[in-house]
């Protein structure tokens, strides 16, 4: 049994000397990093279509941003621990609604809110599956829904069995003022950022906390008096609205969209993108979607078409590397890089103002290098 005491120097004993100084410096560094990061990101986002001109048209970027929306809609469902394969069907509904509303002569600012509202019935239909099924079973149900939608509704409405841009395809136009690839990029990027902001705000609110609880133990969540169904439906509606809007934008980007584009199996690819981004991560989903959507298109352009068909090979390589070395996806990589940039700054203390614990005295003192206590 022994007790070792390390006497601190007089300067350490002074009440004025507190570990506040390094913390302030760490906060300054964090603030500086955040400011710089935000500035660089904003500049990059604003100039991207022109920065990337050497690699190809801004069409690739537009496509990437739309895929970013789709991946975000898949990733959002990760909040309730589920994944959907109906996302392509929901995109198709969005496209059909946009086509109908454009034919009716409605302006863009009316069309998009209607598209969002139109997604709700489909989402509620999918939500019924989610209330009864979980995990793989829910995913299979959504895949079945996707196939049913493709084989019935889309083929009868779009009326095209053949290749892209078939004669009977429906045409959709871009909104006035956004007809160029560069200008359309700003509309798309603005929409994606708005969606990401909404998702981030929901995730940071008490709804997000409830969704975390629901994901971790549905039984405990429900016996505490909270309805899992309501939260699941809310999340599915949010995810569905994003996918439906993405479908509308996709139609505007392509101009002509045949029914055979809406192959439900594509949803598996988007699910892979969401996993690569970090399931449930808003920023990770956006980055993964834009990256996996735009980069292969740029490769196609740079290789003058010789790369066509190899885009999925590229996606596969990156996905394999991520699964092996960073299973948390881009979100996890981003967090690690950020921590390193911050100099491994410890997280801000989370002690509640009500915290009362008299047992921690030796540990607290030892932690500060004040004394070392050896147990018998």
């Amino acid at each position: 049994m022994s007790t070792v005491m390390e006497r601190p120097s007089p300067s350490e004993l002074s009440p004025e000397t507190a570990p506040a100084a390094p913390r302030r410096s760490s906060l300054n560094r964090r603030g500086l990093l955040r400011g710089t990061g935000l500035f660089v990101l904003t500049a990059f986002v604003l100039t991207m279509p022109y920065d990337m001109k050497w690699a190809g048209s801004a069409f690739a970027l537009d496509y990437g941003v739309i895929i970013g929306m789709v991946v975000l809609s898949v990733s959002v469902l990760g909040w309730i621990g589920e994944f959907t394969l109906a996302v392509v069907a929901q995109m198709g509904f969005g496209l059909v609604v946009v086509n109908l509303l454009q034919d009716a002569g409605l302006p863009f600012l009316v069309i998009m809110p209607v598209v969002i509202i139109s997604s709700v019935p489909i989402s509620i239909l999918l939500g019924v599956f989610a209330l009864r099924l979980r995990g793989v079973y829910f995913a299979i149900a959504t895949l079945a829904f996707g196939y049913m939608a493709q084989k019935t509704f889309f083929q009868s409405y779009l009326g095209v069995q053949g290749g892209f841009g078939g004669t009977e395809s429906k045409a959709i136009s871009r909104p006035a003022g956004f007809t160029g690839s560069e200008s359309f990029y700003y509309l798309l990027m603005g929409s994606l950022l708005l969606m990401a902001l909404v998702c981030w705000a929901v995730n940071r609110s008490w709804i997000g906390t409830s969704l975390t609880a629901l994901r971790e133990s549905e039984a405990a969540f429900s016996v505490l008096g909270h309805s899992p169904g309501a939260y699941k439906l809310l999340t599915i509606c949010l995810s569905g609205a994003i996918a439906t809007v993405a479908g509308g934008y996709f139609g505007m980007l392509q101009g002509l969209v045949p029914s055979n584009y809406f192959q439900p199996a594509l949803a598996i690819l988007y699910f892979g993108f969401a996993v690569a981004g970090g399931m449930g991560s808003v920023a990770g989903a956006c980055v993964a979607g834009i990256g996996f959507g735009a980069i292969p298109k740029y490769f196609d352009s740079l290789s003058e078409g010789r790369f066509v068909g190899y885009d999925q090979f590229f996606v596969g390589i990156v996905a394999l590397a991520l699964v092996l070395w960073a299973p948390g996806g881009f979100a996890d990589i981003g967090r690690r890089v950020w921590r390193r940039l911050e100099g491994n700054a410890p997280p801000a203390p989370t002690v509640s103002p009500f915290e009362i614990d008299v047992r921690d005295a030796p540990a607290a003192a030892a932690e500060e290098g004040l004394a070392t206590v050896e147990s018998p």
């Binding site: 505490l224 009362i356 004040l370």
Partner: protein, 323 residues
């Protein structure tokens, strides 16, 4: 060997006290136990400068204690279960179970493993739908989802604690508080709790059940004993009229178990109805007012602990004989 030892130099003590005061931690009356039988001696005079912080936390320590017991609590039937049955394939997990629980009483449900105790709790809380039977709670037929039953005042803990691991302890507790507010439920054991904010209420109940850890820490990082106490506090935050505890004392050390028994008695005296599954027979026999014994999904005995201990069928099926 004395258990009371000085472990720090005077300077170190001063620094430790300052650190604790800065962090909002308490040194009550200048002394604090370190949790291992030793006492951290702190000079009250040198601590005078930290008086405001100490007073603040000391007052919260007082507030975190158990409320004053009521002199009289009405006892009435709150839960009546009649002919409850459920089967899984060919296994009859519950077969014609009857049980009655009263306010301000602790009812025990005991039986060997696989007897159907947890299944019984799951049927009551709505996680399982029974094949037949009727459950009456607080004068009304108990139907609906687990969430509806939770809002009606049916609280429970699980055999394996199911805290929301990535959320903080306080977030876990406020989940219960939100239910109590949404359902406009009063706390049977301390009506004054309704007037507090969620954070204050959660903190007080956590301290009441004996949790002394950090409320801001992720629940998943807690040791097993603390998981149990926080889960109990979370259930209490929901203002239940009937609290169902599934093996609450398993994993607790002797000291924690003693505190736990005292807490259950106090809560029961204050009017809370408690339904308890437990394998620790000394605990069950010590605190329960009424015991129901299950074996292969059927009630083989019921009555006060003294009768159960002498019941031949119970001795044969579960308690065993002291040879």
């Amino acid at each position: 060997m004395s258990a009371r030892r000085e472990i720090f130099s005077p300077e170190a003590r001063e620094r430790a006290a300052r650190l604790m005061a800065e962090r909002g931690r308490a040194v009550r009356k200048g002394n604090g136990r370190n949790g291992h039988g030793r006492t951290l001696l702190l000079d009250p005079e040198k601590l005078a400068r930290f008086e405001p912080a100490r007073e603040r936390v000391a007052s919260q320590l007082t507030e975190g204690g158990l409320p004053v017991r009521r002199s009289h609590v009405e006892k009435r039937e709150i839960l009546t279960v009649e002919d409850l049955a459920i089967h899984f394939g060919g296994v009859h997990a519950l077969d014609g179970v009857n049980l009655t629980a009263r306010t301000a009483e602790i009812a025990g449900v005991i039986g060997p493993n696989g007897a159907g105790k947890t299944t019984f709790f799951n049927c009551l809380s709505g996680l399982l739908t029974p094949d037949r039977g009727q459950i009456t709670f607080d004068g009304h037929a108990l139907n609906g989802s687990p969430a509806t039953r939770g809002r009606h005042g049916l609280g429970r803990t699980f055999q394996t604690p199911r805290l929301f691991g990535s959320l903080s302890v306080l977030d876990n507790l406020t989940f219960g508080c939100r239910t109590a507010d949404a359902a406009r439920r009063d706390y049977v054991f301390d009506p004054a709790l309704r007037r507090l904010s969620h954070a204050e209420r959660g903190t007080r109940l956590a301290r009441m059940v004996g949790f002394r850890g950090e409320l801001g820490a992720p629940a998943g990082s807690l040791p097993f004993g603390d998981l149990r106490t926080v889960e109990l506090a979370r259930a209490l935050c929901g203002a239940p009229s009937l609290l169902m505890l599934d093996e609450p004392a398993s994993g607790l050390d002797v000291g924690q178990a003693e505190d736990f028994v005292e807490l259950l008695r106090s809560l029961s005296d204050l009017g809370l109805s408690i339904l308890l599954i437990e394998h620790d027979m000394s605990l069950v026999m010590g605190i329960c007012d009424h015991i129901t014994v299950l074996d292969f999904g059927q009630v083989i005995a019921e009555g006060p602990p003294s009768e159960i201990q002498r019941n031949e069928a119970v001795i044969e099926a579960y308690l065993g004989r002291a040879d």
